[in-house]
């Protein structure tokens, strides 16, 4: 039930944003599918960054274990900030690419 509430709230604000953007801000409705595709591109980039961050983290932790002989837990990679920071990396690259065109 709680999960459905969250989905319902997001759907309502999305519908509201659609109305405000298309009528108030004058955004073209026909451009929405393209915007969705661009968002998917950005999300794909975020997934790539996340996999890269996890892969590099794994190599660093295991490498440091071998080189220093000290135990470093792999659980440090199990952190909620990593997906968020990966998304931030993707957003920056996505915007950078858009401004470079």
């Amino acid at each position: 039930m709680a999960s459905l509430t969250v989905v319902a709230i997001v759907m309502l604000t999305s519908a509201g944003a659609f109305v405000v953007a298309s009528r108030g801000a004058g955004l073209r409705r026909a451009a929405l599918p393209g915007a969705f595709m661009q968002a998917l591109d950005c999300l794909g980039l975020a997934v790539l960054f996340l996999l890269g961050n996890l892969g590099l983290g794994l190599v660093l932790v295991l490498g440091l274990r071998v080189m220093t002989g000290r135990f470093i837990s792999l659980y440090i990679l199990n952190d909620a900030t990593l997906p968020f920071l990966s998304l931030l990396q993707a957003l920056v690259v996505h915007c950078w690419r858009a401004r470079s065109k």
């Binding site: 999960s3 989905v7 999300l43």
Partner: protein, 196 residues
């Protein structure tokens, strides 16, 4: 670009399935297996997450020790073995004593940093005493690896997982799926290094 888009779509679908469906709960219950609550030589409570410097246990560590105390009170074993880091076992032992478990019935295994080290520490503690059957207390997702390591250490293992139903909030489900993926990676690592 097309590959990136498909990857984004896949990420979105995984996110939606993880947060808004019982996928993580089903995996959680599947990994827990079937509990086998039968009289054993000892109840072994695996560590999870340690304790803060003020001795406060993590949520999961707390859940596990409470489960262990519960099994002890049910008379399923005469020994409660606590493993994990030094801080964690100290805090857990203190809590168990406070909940009425006699100090003589509580054994603390040598400090360990990984599940593999815990299995070895528990083996060194219990096998010389002739104790070979254990009720293993761990989170559902940690049970397959914990059980395999304990069996490899020579124990007859009876799983006693903490609650296997899992959370219902989207954020908690996401967190659970993250932990499941981490545990599967740990399983793969143990397999690759020959620890399992």
């Amino acid at each position: 670009m097309r590959g990136l888009r498909l990857l984004g779509l896949a990420g979105l679908l995984v996110f939606a399935a993880a947060a808004f469906t019982p996928l993580a709960n089903c995996l959680n219950a599947w990994m827990a297996g079937v509990a086998s609550l039968e009289p054993s030589d000892a109840i072994v409570v695996l560590g999870r997450g340690g304790a803060d410097s003020d001795g406060i246990l993590t949520n999961r560590s707390l859940r596990r020790v409470l489960r262990g105390v519960d099994l002890y009170r049910d008379g399923l074993a005469s020994l409660l073995v606590l493993s994990g880091s030094a801080d964690e076992t100290r805090s857990r032992a203190s809590l168990a004593r406070g909940l009425g478990v006699p100090a003589a019935a509580i054994l603390s295994a040598a400090p360990a940093r990984t599940t593999g080290e815990e299995a070895e520490a528990v083996r060194r503690l219990l096998v010389p005493l002739g104790h070979r059957s254990i009720l293993l207390v761990a989170d559902p997702i940690d049970m397959p690896r914990g059980r395999a390591l304990m069996e490899r250490a020579g124990f007859t293992v009876r799983p006693a997982p903490t609650a296997a139903s899992g959370p219902s909030q989207p954020e908690a489900r996401l967190s659970l799926l993250k932990d499941i993926l981490m545990e599967l990676a740990a399983w793969a690592y143990y397999r690759l290094t020959g620890a399992l």
